[in-house]
Amino acid sequence: MDEFIQLTVNGLTLGSVYALIALGYTLVYGVLKLLNFAHGDVFMVGSFIGFGVLQALGGAVDPVVPLWALLILITLSAMAGCAVLGVVIERFAYRPLRDAPRIAPLISALGVSFFLAYSMQLLFGAQYRDYNLFSASDGALFLKGFHIGGVRVSLVRDIIIASAFVLMVVLWFLVNKTRTGKAMRATSFDREAAAMMGIDIDRVIVFTFVLGSALAGAAGVLFALLVPTQVSIGFVSGLKGFTAAVIGGIGSVPGAMAGGLILGFAESYAAGYIDRIHFGGFRIWPEAAGTRWTDLVIFVILIAFMIFRPQGLLGRPDIKKV
């Protein structure tokens, strides 16, 4: 039982990060109908910005500000940096293609993804960047927290889950309760009609990119609290976030949150139980394979969605307008 709860905690941590990434995909898709493949790399840049600011503030072991202020500062600066990056990407790589065939911005997005990932590798190399928070205040972030029986919910996990939750609430408020949010939803529903109603589409799109990229920046820092960051997490985690968005229904904000959590739990439970699954002695994968087919669980979920519910958990079916 302890093991199950611990796996749930792990899955929740990972899932909240995935959900934050998925929100960026889903927001942009909702407004622009664009699969923004560069989003994962914005996430990676965010974690690097966090690292840079952390070093500038004296590092985790001997910071010039208190630890809580340090965490807030690096998160905010990563969010701001990524928001700028998102706006620049939109302005120069996507806006010129807004009326182009649908395939054009997708290819441009692939190009941006490549460009960002390898530019970071050019400048900062492929090695790991460790926030080293484990050494901050004698490891309090990792060693303190709730200890219930054998289950350990360390402080750093509390911080990740709580911040992700707060960010999602803020986002929900922005999208549902503000004028700009209303404009976003209108644009997402029908861009042309929204434009005719006097909504400044350019502003809405820029705002969407600011929101999505800032969330990615925050996710980048939160993830890097847990594990060291490196250039390739952009591709790997970006793909996870994208998968989460697709499962939840791309274009749907609550869907992305749900999708992120589903994916986080799926990964965690798969690593925990996959080698013990059998049906009366019959095993789908051989016993010797151990946990190596964990990735397959994600694909089984995906294939099930693709066949039975292609619009995703909470997505709207795509109605063709003539």
Binding site: L7, T13, L14, Q127, S268, A271
Partner: protein, 399 residues
Amino acid sequence: MRRYRLILPLTAAALALAAAAATAALAGPSHKTAAVKTQAISCKGNLKIGFVTPLTGGAGFLGNEQLSWAKYAVKTLAPKMGLKVTLVNGDTPVEQGPAPAQALAQKFIADKSVVAVLGPSTSGAVAASTKSYFQAGMAHVSPSATRTSLTKGTPLEGTPAFFRVVPGDYIQGPSDAKFMIDQLKVKKVVLLDFQEPYSLGLADAAQTVLTKGGVTVIRLSAPNTTTDYSSYVTRVPSDAEIVFFPTQKPGDAQTFARQLVEQGKKAKVFGGDGSNDSSQFKTPGAYVSNFAPDITGIPADAALIAGWKKDNPGKAVGSFGPPSYGAVQVILTAIQNACRAGKGSLKDRRVLISAIKHVRISNWILGGSFRFSTKSNDPLNAKFYIFQIQPNGSYKLVG
């Protein structure tokens, strides 16, 4: 009809071209390869040594460390032996599979002044290119490829032209396991692999010995793209003593060790040579095995290290670099011996294969003396060294 006026002459020209090319090509290779065989290489001229290693990508740290030592070896040793030698670098990022190694092999084989190859540094690259090198009679000496099947076993992936100056995984996996059984007296061990050849080989080799030794083994496997290991950490039983974690990414070993502490597990991480990097993997109590000792502890190497440090200011002596110094020393000594036997010239590059096999070096950089085993192209009596990470992050030799 007018648009067809140009066709006839063009088609005729093209067909003529194609025919000429085909005949030339069919005639071409045979007489050209024949010409290669009779070409002797003067020892007075500028000799090139190809160097195949990952200089960029995830394993770039390894290649660059090796490069600094190889450069230093060429700079200091070649003039003493009266040779003019230059290194020609080739990059094989591990992310790109075998293709770059094969292309580089073609490049070096085609270059008549390349007499031998240092590397390839990674086992995958060796497997991909060793047949080409062998057929072309080019000796290649790797400072770090440890896959067992490159020098022994069936199916054998290596060729007689392949040498390595460090022992293979057939020693590393079992000696790590023996250390766990004999020294640490373990009862329960978790083994992880990362679904790539290096870790699979090591984990399998260790598993065999551990199971034979009556140790309870739990085998887990994580995709190579895993970044957060917390769910695998949860799988580690609270009474397991060791997690064998043969990763090629030292940062991941560090993550795993920390997450063990976070979840209150008492198990210690045991990493292979791939995680031997004291700047990244530094959780106290963890173990690391490697094919080379820390040469800063060898008194005879003091002058050597001082010289290298002068060329590479601000860099720490790692464990991947010194074996490549040794490999260069092996190649240069072989060239010197073969030149002496050939009275100032090499009949072809093939003579270096047997010259390398018979190289003997008395002041080996990794301590003691060096020669190849007569049974396989592995170093004789080489062993693996096991370190434990100390509270201050330094590596202490424990076995």
